[in-house]
Each structure stands twice: as structure tokens, then as C-alpha cells.
Symmetry: C2
Subunit: 156 residues, 2 copies
């Protein structure tokens, strides 16, 4: 047996901390720039957030129910208020589904969204890493807009 590095509850708390920082990052954007501004032809920050929203809860739900469905990043969220409301609505769902995944299932392989075949733990780490990755991109957009991003360590 290899040594435990992180427990389930620690990883969940770590993710929830990141989600608080991501929420603060969304809040920093002016309404218009959230949906229209980007750098280098990339997607605006609202679209990066919709990607996270379209993957996280549907992905966790699929891990628990094993009912597969294709996903769409094109969620009908058209204002900052709607994005934040969906973000907040999803937090308790993440907690609920996450807690239903057992330790035994972590290394089971699942073909998420009928497409991506990896272990459940790999998928979960991908969800968190992908959020950090896109939020870091949002920080650049904010800097390019002359807006100071939140502090990276501010997960409270």
C-alpha cells in the first residue's frame, strides 16, 4: 500500500477553496468584458466558465449514476448574475455527488460523456486542474483590462 497523500475530504475542501477563488474572479469582470473580451482570439472568460459548469456537475453525476450523456459548453447563461447563480447552485451538487463516490470506485475507468475514458480520480483531478488553468487565463484577461485579479491564495 502506498502512503495516503490526500484524503477524499481534503480534496473536496481543496476544490471548494478553488471554486471560491474562481467565483471572485468572475466577479471582477465588468459585465460586457466577461462575455466579449479575450486575448489572442481565445474564448471570453464567460465561455471558459461555461466549460467548467458543463463538465463538473454533469461529470460527477455521471460518475455516480453511470448514465452517460453528451455535453454542451453552450449553456444559456447570458449575464454575470446568471453565471454566478449557476455557479452557486452547482456547489452543493458537487459536494453531494462527490461524497457519493466511494474510495473503491476511484480507480474504476469510466468513459465520461461517452468520450473520455480515464479513471474516476483522473477525471476529478482534471476537473480541478482545468479550473485552475482557465482561471489563470482569466487573470491575464483582467490584467489586460487594467483590473487587478484576486490574490491566488484567496480561497476563502
Amino acid at each position: 500500500m502506498s502512503a495516503t497523500m490526500i484524503t477524499k475530504s481534503e480534496l473536496l475542501q481543496h476544490w471548494l477553496g478553488h471554486r471560491k477563488l474562481t467565483r471572485k474572479t468572475i466577479e471582477k469582470f465588468p459585465e460586457k468584458e466577461l462575455f466579449e473580451f479575450s486575448v489572442g482570439g481565445m474564448r471570453p472568460f464567460s465561455s471558459l466558465i461555461k466549460e467548467l459548469l458543463s463538465i463538473n456537475v454533469p461529470g460527477l453525476k455521471e460518475m455516480v449514476t453511470r448514465e452517460t450523456a453528451p455535453f454542451s459548453h453552450d449553456l444559456p447563461l447570458n449575464t454575470k448574475e446568471e453565471l454566478l447563480a449557476k455557479w452557486d447552485e452547482d456547489t452543493p451538487k458537487i459536494v453531494e455527488y462527490f461524497n457519493q463516490i466511494s474510495e473503491d470506485q476511484l480507480h474504476e475507468t469510466i468513459k465520461l460523456f461517452g468520450q473520455y475514458e480515464f479513471s474516476i480520480i483522473s477525471h476529478l483531478l482534471y476537473f480541478i486542474d482545468n479550473e485552475i488553468h482557465h482561471r489563470g487565463q482569466g487573470f491575464v484577461y483582467l490584467r489586460a483590462l487594467g483590473i487587478e485579479p484576486p490574490f491566488f491564495w484567496d480561497r476563502y
Copy 2:
């Protein structure tokens, strides 16, 4: 006891995969832009990489030896070749120090670099998250330069 989410060897492998992707990201930059280009008044990508280099091995070393020292992000690395050489030189050191940290020590608090007081596991997750965060920013720099970044999932 809470369920094990990630073992020590899994977290190390996860980090090493990220390091491969970060190395590929450095490689994508033209020499001049690596040291001079940025967006929104931010640091160039070479400086973000030097931050990682100045924290990772020195931080791990301090966790193992408990000898504290202040750090400097201003490493004397002035070419892409020097940055990549230092990156490669550090990989086996990361493995070596990481493997010397025992499971019992993970929740010990350590005041890293004489400044940052957190548990060892929090520091380690910070190192990895910080790398993903800054690399995501490098992806934006590349896009702004008209260069396609590596694939986010390419950790091999």
C-alpha cells in the same frame, strides 16, 4: 479515518506529468518572447518559470532538511536553453526530496522560506496549482503571439 483519495506516488506522478506539459510550453516560446513578451504588464513567461524553479526544489529541500533560507525568483537563467536545462536538472531532485517526505509529516506545519506557514501537504498542492496557474497564463501569451500552445492533456 477518511478515505484515501490520492496516494503519494499518484500525486508525484501527477506533478511530473504537469512538469512535462510545462516544459513543452517553455519550448513553444521563441527565445526573445520568452524573456520579453507579456500581456497587461505582467511578467514574461521566463519569469513565471523562474518563480516555479525558485520555489519547488528549494521548498522541497526545506521540507526534508528543515534548513530555512529566503528565496529569490531572480535566477541567473538568461536563455531558453538554460531554463530548460535547469528544469531538467530539477526533475530528479523533486523526485528525490518528495520521496523523503513521510506520510506522518504531511500535516506538520512548516514556515517555508521563513515566511509561509502552512502544512506540508498544503505547500505541495500550492506548488502544483501555482504551476498550472502560471502555465495557463503562458498559454494566453502564446495565443497572443499567434502560436498554438500544447494540448492541456499532453502530460507525456
